[in-house]
Symmetry: C2
Subunit: 222 residues, 2 copies
């Protein structure tokens, strides 16, 4: 089981980075509920308890992988004007969060910002301030934009019938059987959505984002 060519019997030593990297891989491939200490140990070819020599507990691992994910989000480019900067970081955030679909659910519980989250937050606020927003307006804008991004990803995830087979069955059943008469507007919209599978979400995201950006521009120094 030698990993390094250099010393034949020696495997590459553990480290918190290696642990986090492996934890992230498991969460991405098998879901957050599959991320157990024992499985993480197996992945790293090590006993579960050995992990505790490098991390305090599982929560620290969870905090760590969330911060890694946040670190993948593209920072708003320093030179660009605030609107395009926000557009870029927003679509990057949506992309990143959607590709680690478990991450959104953790943002809520994990309170303290990791280093990447601080960097990200600071950069976003900086971009807004440079664009002419007062501290207070920048706070409002930041909260508004991030609320939209997070909330959108949540909904995008929870409506994702199309990948899951049984949920498709269930939702189709529910929508067909009962709601046609009981919930006419829901049925109408669902019927409209059937034709357009996923393109709609990207459109919707851009629609909302543009609406918010235009609104912010109008209120920028109100």
């Amino acid at each position: 089981m030698a990993r390094e060519a250099g010393s034949p019997q020696r495997r590459t030593p553990l480290s918190s980075e290696r642990i986090l990297r492996a934890a992230l891989a498991i969460a991405d491939e098998a879901g957050l509920e599959a991320l157990t200490m024992r499985r993480l140990g197996r992945q790293l070819d090590v006993e579960a308890m050995s992990l505790y020599k490098h991390v305090a507990n599982k929560d620290e691992i969870l905090d760590g992988i969330v911060d890694i994910v946040v670190g993948e989000i593209q920072l708003p480019p320093a030179g660009a004007d605030w609107k395009t900067a926000m557009r870029m970081r927003a679509s990057s955030a949506r992309e990143v969060l959607a590709s680690h679909s478990w991450a959104i659910g953790m943002m809520e519980s994990r309170a303290a910002l990791g280093p990447a989250a601080m960097r990200y937050t600071d950069a976003v606020i900086g971009s807004l301030r440079a664009g002419g927003f007062s501290v207070e307006k920048a706070a409002h804008a930041f909260l508004l934009l991030d609320s939209y991004i997070y909330g959108f990803v949540i909904q995008e995830m929870s409506f994702s019938f199309g990948t899951s087979d049984e949920s498709a069955d269930r939702s189709e059943g529910v929508l067909e059987a009962s709601s046609a008469d009981q919930f006419p507007h829901l049925a109408e919209m669902a019927a409209d959505h059937v034709a357009t599978p996923e393109r709609t979400y990207a459109d919707s995201f851009d629609f909302g984002l543009n609406l918010i950006l235009e609104g912010l521009e109008a209120h920028r120094d109100g």
Copy 2:
């Protein structure tokens, strides 16, 4: 241990409603992680396994209490114009979700809409359609508004230092020690926030909500 005065030895029988009600109480009072089948049984003066005569599994309970919470959200009043209707249901949603702070974290994982969620969704869409939105525009508006609401509550929760003691310590420490020079914009904003404890969130919520509503009005039949 008789509960009913009528028959002295007989306790009030279990039912899925009673179980859900008790589960909701536990989650509210002690947090979602305190909601275990054994504790739920204890609360109802019953063995844990007896619960399974009324619910299929724990997930069904979780789905159930989420739907109860959604049911607490005030539906958009049918008569009112769409803007005030949206304003009312949005602030009700924020209030309800904030008072069951565990609920937001579950919206993401639980895919299928429960009956209350369907009623709610249908009513919101109906209100928008009645206000002159096309099916497509109503879908956009719905997604935008709900994204904002959910995302806002998430951030409101995760920034809630003030109740938790240790998180206050931590965040203050982090913000003071390292970030003053490394993250100047973050520090600046944090300093600004120190003076205003919670009033700011209500203001911010209204600001964003108004901005979105105005934007939607402009795009209503674009």
